[in-house]
């Protein structure tokens, strides 16, 4: 095989020197882009907008961690089993990339329509070419009918295919559904100094950035409405319609109601792709209208792929995956991968599922392919290759090896394994160069050398452009994602103006093949679990804030000696100690068993101590992280109050605030306001599907549990005559029921009346009774599962708890505990019983709907050796 002497960017060189850069903003057309102070203002605004969408912000600490199925998330200070890593390790909430906050550069990159046409044609050709190469390699190597001479070995060295760690051997020999492997591809390009375009990288396995391109467009048009109108920018929607169509075309022939599912590598788990990809996939999923799941939400059963949904298994026909090839199936690809779908290859092999992009395309990203593409293009497409990258040599040929080792100090060297680092020869000293030369000479086939892409003078930004392929068409997204700075965390929109005379209204094509199917009742179990915990965390945060504020109020009002007396533990009839008990409630609700030395210290710990499992920062962190994991399911308006909560948390840490009680209380009030806004968004802007009912169920369960804990900590073990009015008032304040009480009773605080309003009152939405009633209603709206007993068992439990509360009587409750023998219906027995019921309900809901979330993926066992 003759390797060309480097891939010469002939098209670029002949494009004429001195031509204007293709990306120059065309101010001459009246498009005015911001500069100076105005630009800075827009940058700040963009940052704020991104934050209020819940992207770009740094993480708060995440709460604790996995509980085994044997110990399902308890009521009281509930924390969510699984998914959130220990010690807050994953950097998940945000699109933090390389530790930098993700931001938007408001100035779009504007590409001249003529230059764009060149790029569009080049990119479209490249996608067709890569598809043809993938097809030639995987269709079946021996005796390929379409390419009788074999592409590998003749046009392509076998080393860069078969010895490439990203080559997927199990993908050889069968044809993917729709006869297509590449549906969506990303290409990094840069305008060449002399005109034309340089191709820098191909993204095929998990092409990131489309979600960001959509989001950037939305934000940029908000920030620059006038410029956007003047520029007559081409729309993104026709491309998205083509993408949906292309995905629909992968549906296996016998699927009646084809369903496309997006598969993300998950939050915080890089899986070899950008850590932030989960967030942008949420954006994409929402725009495309596909359900998003993670690999373990899918199951291979009876030869098909199914989604583990609330109601049971639901068939999936096309998997639109953003998980790298090698991680896509722990059964046939990489056993330790937990982001894949066990059995995916088997399902695809028998044509039961379409996969986009097809398994095995990742190796085509290798830079070693570049020198062979011109000849492959001639052979497979009958066309001259249009888009070239920097000159590249594969060292596996003598000429390539000679060129590379001869001037290593001017080249960038990439190993065949993409997980190994690329080496910039220009940065090495003589010893380093010698060492590298030795390593290359020892196994030259492993190395590819290329001219650096950042040649001096190339100051134009890198653009990531996207192309999608369906039956006989390749569509290129007009625009894309620009990286104007040194870090991928900063991106900008790309505008492609219409050519003169072009029409703005590009109507999206109607997607055939994806019929109108109502998936509103369908929810991945994992998402259901996240929404359930979203409700619980929101309520948990509210409860902690209210109780903390109540305690602070009491502290401010009490004379010092009273305070001291009330803080000591109750010992004997004279010592009231109720403030001590209130503080104990704070501790119990925030997951601590240690009481603070003073009430304010205890409250401070509840509000700031990140070691407490359910302290305010942990709860708020969990709330935001959980919301981020189901971005595609929650209203975008939710991010504004969540961002305010995050700001308040940071504010509480300010040195000026920590020691100023009034300032702390102000901040707590602001946070309660933000949480009320969260409730408002949930209540007013979320469709009443199973997801909403789970969220509400979580909230109600948590509310009942917290109230039971509060009453138990303060009234448990107390005699009626030892109950202070001040304690009763504090309980009513913490339970948001003081005003209701005053309106109803206009009297002094009576224990039985207080308990009636907190525990029994069906019209007080904060009461245990009302919370359980709402819970019963929510559970009744959830789908029935195929589990034995099914939903009705869980529902029965909730109804039983409700009926129990209905049998309670305020006067008996107010006896608290009988001093001698246990008495049915006193507060102490009732709280014990309710506590158990709520714990059991929490476990039952988990068993019913989220059980698989807790199941671990393990190896079948020790591998049997060839031990002879």
């Amino acid at each position: 095989m003759n390797q060309p002497a480097g891939s010469e960017p002939a098209a670029l060189r002949t494009a004429g020197a001195g031509g204007s850069n293709a990306w120059t903003p065309r101010a001459g057309d009246g498009v005015v882009l911001p500069t100076g102070d105005e630009l800075e203002r827009l940058r700040t605004l963009a940052r704020r907008r991104l934050r209020s969408r819940g992207v770009g912000t740094p993480d708060l600490p995440l709460g604790p961690t996995r509980r085994s199925p044997e110990a399902p998330g308890g009521a009281g200070t509930g924390t969510r089993p699984g998914t959130v890593g220990p010690g807050g390790a994953p950097a998940g909430t945000s699109l933090l990339e390389g530790g930098t906050e993700r931001t938007l550069e408001p100035r779009p990159v504007i590409v001249d329509p003529g230059a764009w046409a060149v790029l569009e044609a080049g990119v479209a050709q490249r996608l067709r070419l890569l598809e043809a190469v993938a097809d030639a390699v995987y269709r079946s190597s021996p005796g390929d009918r379409r390419h009788p001479d074999g592409v590998v070995g003749r046009l392509l060295p076998p080393e860069i295919v078969y010895a490439n760690p990203t080559f997927v051997a199990p993908a050889v020999g069968w044809e993917p559904t729709g006869d297509r492997r590449i549906v969506l591809a990303g290409f990094d390009v840069r305008a060449a100094p002399g005109g034309g375009w340089h191709l820098l990288a191909d993204h095929l396995a998990a092409p990131a950035g489309l979600g960001r391109a959509l989001e950037n467009r939305e934000l940029t048009t908000e920030l620059l409405p006038a410029a956007y109108q003047q520029a007559r920018v081409r729309r993104q929607s026709p491309f998205l319609a083509t993408l949906r169509q292309a995905l629909a075309e992968l549906t296996p022939p016998d699927a009646a109601e084809p369903r496309v599912l997006m598969v993300s590598p998950g939050r915080g788990r890089a899986g070899g792709t950008d850590a932030g990809i989960h967030a942008e996939l949420g954006e994409l999923a929402r725009t495309l209208g596909f359900t998003m799941a993670e690999g373990s939400d899918l199951a291979f059963r009876r030869g098909q792929v199914y989604l583990r949904a609330l109601a049971g298994l639901e068939p999936v026909h096309v998997v639109f995956r953003f998980v790298r090839d090698r991680l896509a199936d722990p059964l046939e690809l990489t056993a330790w991968s937990t982001v894949g779908i066990a059995g995916l290859v088997a399902a695809a092999r028998r044509g039961a599922v379409g996969i986009a992009n097809g398994l095995g395309v990742e190796w085509l990203e290798t830079p070693a392919l570049a020198p062979f593409l011109p000849a492959l293009s001639e052979a497979l497409l009958g066309e001259e290759l249009q888009l070239h990258g920097p000159r590249t040599w594969w060292c596996g040929t003598p000429e390539g090896l000679q060129e590379a080792t001869g001037r290593l100090d001017a080249l960038v060297v990439a190993p065949l394994d993409p997980d190994l680092a690329t080496i910039d020869g220009r940065l090495l000293d003589a010893a380093g160069l010698d060492d590298l030369r030795r390593r290359i000479t020892a196994r030259p086939w492993r190395w590819t050398a290329r001219e650096p892409a950042d040649e001096p003078g190339a100051s134009s930004p890198t653009l990531r452009v996207f192309a999608t392929a369906r039956r006989d068409t390749v569509a290129v997204l007009p625009g894309g994602c620009a990286f104007p700075g040194p870090t991928p965390a900063v991106t900008a929109d790309v505008w492609v103006p219409l050519p003169p005379g072009g029409r703005v209204a590009e109507l999206p094509l109607r997607v055939s093949g994806l019929g109108q199917v109502d998936f509103s009742e369908s929810l991945p179990s994992r998402s259901g679990e996240a929404l359930f915990w979203l409700g619980r965390y929101a309520e948990q945060a509210e409860n902690t804030l209210r109780l903390a504020r109540t305690v602070l109020d009491v502290v401010e009002r009490q004379p010092l000696e009273e305070l001291t007396r009330n803080l000591s533990p109750a010992s004997g009839p004279a010592a009231h100690g109720w403030l001590h008990d209130l503080v104990e409630a704070v501790d119990r609700l925030t997951g601590s068993t240690l009481s603070g030395a003073t009430a304010t210290e205890a409250v401070a710990a509840a509000l700031s101590d990140e070691d407490r499992s359910a302290s305010l920062p942990r709860t708020i962190g969990n709330l935001i992280a959980t919301a981020s994991s189901v971005r595609e399911l929650v209203s975008p308006e939710l991010w504004q109050p969540l961002e305010r909560l995050r700001e308040s948390m940071a504010h509480l840490d300010d040195p000026g605030v920590v020691d100023d009680l009034a300032a702390v209380r102000d901040e707590l009030d602001r946070m309660l306001g933000s949480l009320a806004a969260v409730s408002g968004v949930v209540w007013e802007s979320m469709v009443r599907g199973p997801g909403w009912h789970l969220l509400d169920a979580g909230r109600r369960l948590e509310r009942a549990a917290a109230l039971v804990t509060l009453l138990d900590a303060t009234l448990g073990g107390r005699r009626p005559r030892d109950v202070d009015d001040e304690l009763l008032e504090a309980l009513l304040v913490a339970g948001v029921s003081l005003i209701a009480y005053r309106r109803r009773h206009r009297s002094d605080l009576e224990l039985d009346a207080v308990l009636a309003i907190l525990v029994l009152d069906p019209s007080n939405p904060r009461s245990v009774r009302a919370s359980l009633a709402a819970l019963v209603h929510d559970l009744a709206q959830l789908p029935t599962t195929s589990r034995p007993g099914g939903r009705d068992a869980t529902l029965g439990r909730a109804r039983e708890a409700l009926a129990y509360v209905d049998r309670l009587d305020p006067r008996t409750l107010a006896r608290l505990a009988s001093s001698t023998e246990r008495e049915a219906g006193t507060l102490e027995t009732a709280l014990g019983r309710l506590h158990t019921s709520i714990e059991q309900l929490s476990g039952a809901i988990g068993d019913e709907y989220f059980r698989h979330v807790w199941v671990a993926q393990l190896p079948t066992g020790t591998l049997p050796r060839n031990g002879g």
């Binding site: 078969y162 059963r301 088997a346």
Partner: protein
């Protein structure tokens, strides 16, 4: 030419400490037809019965069975029953074997199909200067391929101790080289690494040995378990089997199951389960009977 028939029973069993809800496995247990070996019967019994089961042929021509068990189970037993025929004749010297080993290097470099990977690094076996240095004394320039690879096979047989338990599935070759101990899988990997380091193509072979040797012959090492050896590519494109564990060149009664770049391609049974916290115990039994 008479043929010898063998019946092989290979049972792999996992016992779990708790219920396993779902299990997915890949079995490489069906002996393949080779130039010499003919498979006359094969049955793979899986208990509990799989809910889905599908055979396919991999890149190297091995038959792979992928199966899933979608019911709760506490044990998994996979039993492969095979009958194969092997010619009873003695090994034949070939011209390619007598040609200088450098010709085998040329042939390895000229491979254009998936076999090219047999000459290059694979997940468990990579070329290295250490391995080349160990191998080099057996490969003076111009020596015949038979003599060179035979000498290397004999040296590994003599210099390395067969010691079960001293290595694991993933022990790298340089550790085996340093400790001079291992089992058949390690010796096969080691010799493959040596040959690849010199530019030769070598593939991993999994299979079986006769459990009870014919009268008057010693029982071979590895007869009670599944065995592993290797093949090296000769200058004419044919492959020659080498068994460093027993010091054999071109063994005639080994039963071949599968070829691969290394163990990872042809592990007899591998997969994943979905379960709570369970542990498992593995037991393997192999029985190879001469039928005629």
């Amino acid at each position: 030419m008479t043929a010898v028939r063998y019946r092989v029973t290979h049972q792999t069993r996992y016992a779990y400490t708790g219920e396993v809800g779902l299990g997915y496995n890949r079995a490489v247990l069906r002996p393949r037809d080779t130039g010499r070996q003919k498979v006359t019967a094969f049955a793979l019994d899986i208990d509990p019965a799989p809910d889905h089961r599908h055979d396919h042929v991999d890149l190297y021509g091995n038959t792979i069975t992928v199966f899933s068990i979608e019911q709760s189970h506490k044990t998994l037993t996979v039993t492969a029953n095979s009958e194969v025929e092997l010619p009873a004749d003695d090994p034949q010297l070939t011209l390619a074997g007598l040609a200088p080993w450098e010709e085998a290097v040329t042939a390895a470099a000229a491979l254009t199909g998936p076999e090219r990977a047999f000459a290059l690094d694979s997940p468990l076996v990579g070329a290295s200067e250490e391995l080349a240095a160990y191998a080099r004394p057996s490969f003076p320039p111009g020596r015949s391929t038979y003599d060179a690879v035979g000498d290397l096979t004999a040296r590994i047989f003599e210099e390395f101790e067969y010691r079960p338990g001293s290595t694991s599935v993933t022990t790298p070759t340089h550790e085996v080289l340093a400790s001079r101990a291992g089992v058949c899988q390690d010796f096969a990997h080691l010799q493959i690494g040596c040959l690849r380091s010199l530019g030769l193509a070598a593939r991993y072979v999994s299979g079986y040995l006769e459990t009870q040797p014919p009268p008057g012959q010693p029982k071979l090492v590895g007869a009670d378990a599944s065995h592993a050896w290797l093949s090296v590519l000769l200058g004419d494109g044919t492959w020659l089997d080498l068994d460093p564990t027993n010091g054999l060149v071109d063994p005639t009664s080994h039963v071949t199951v599968a070829y691969g770049r290394d163990y990872a391609d042809v592990a007899p049974l591998s997969g994943v389960i979905f379960a709570g916290a369970v542990t498992s115990t593995l037991s393997v039994a192999v029985d190879v009977l001469r039928l005629s």
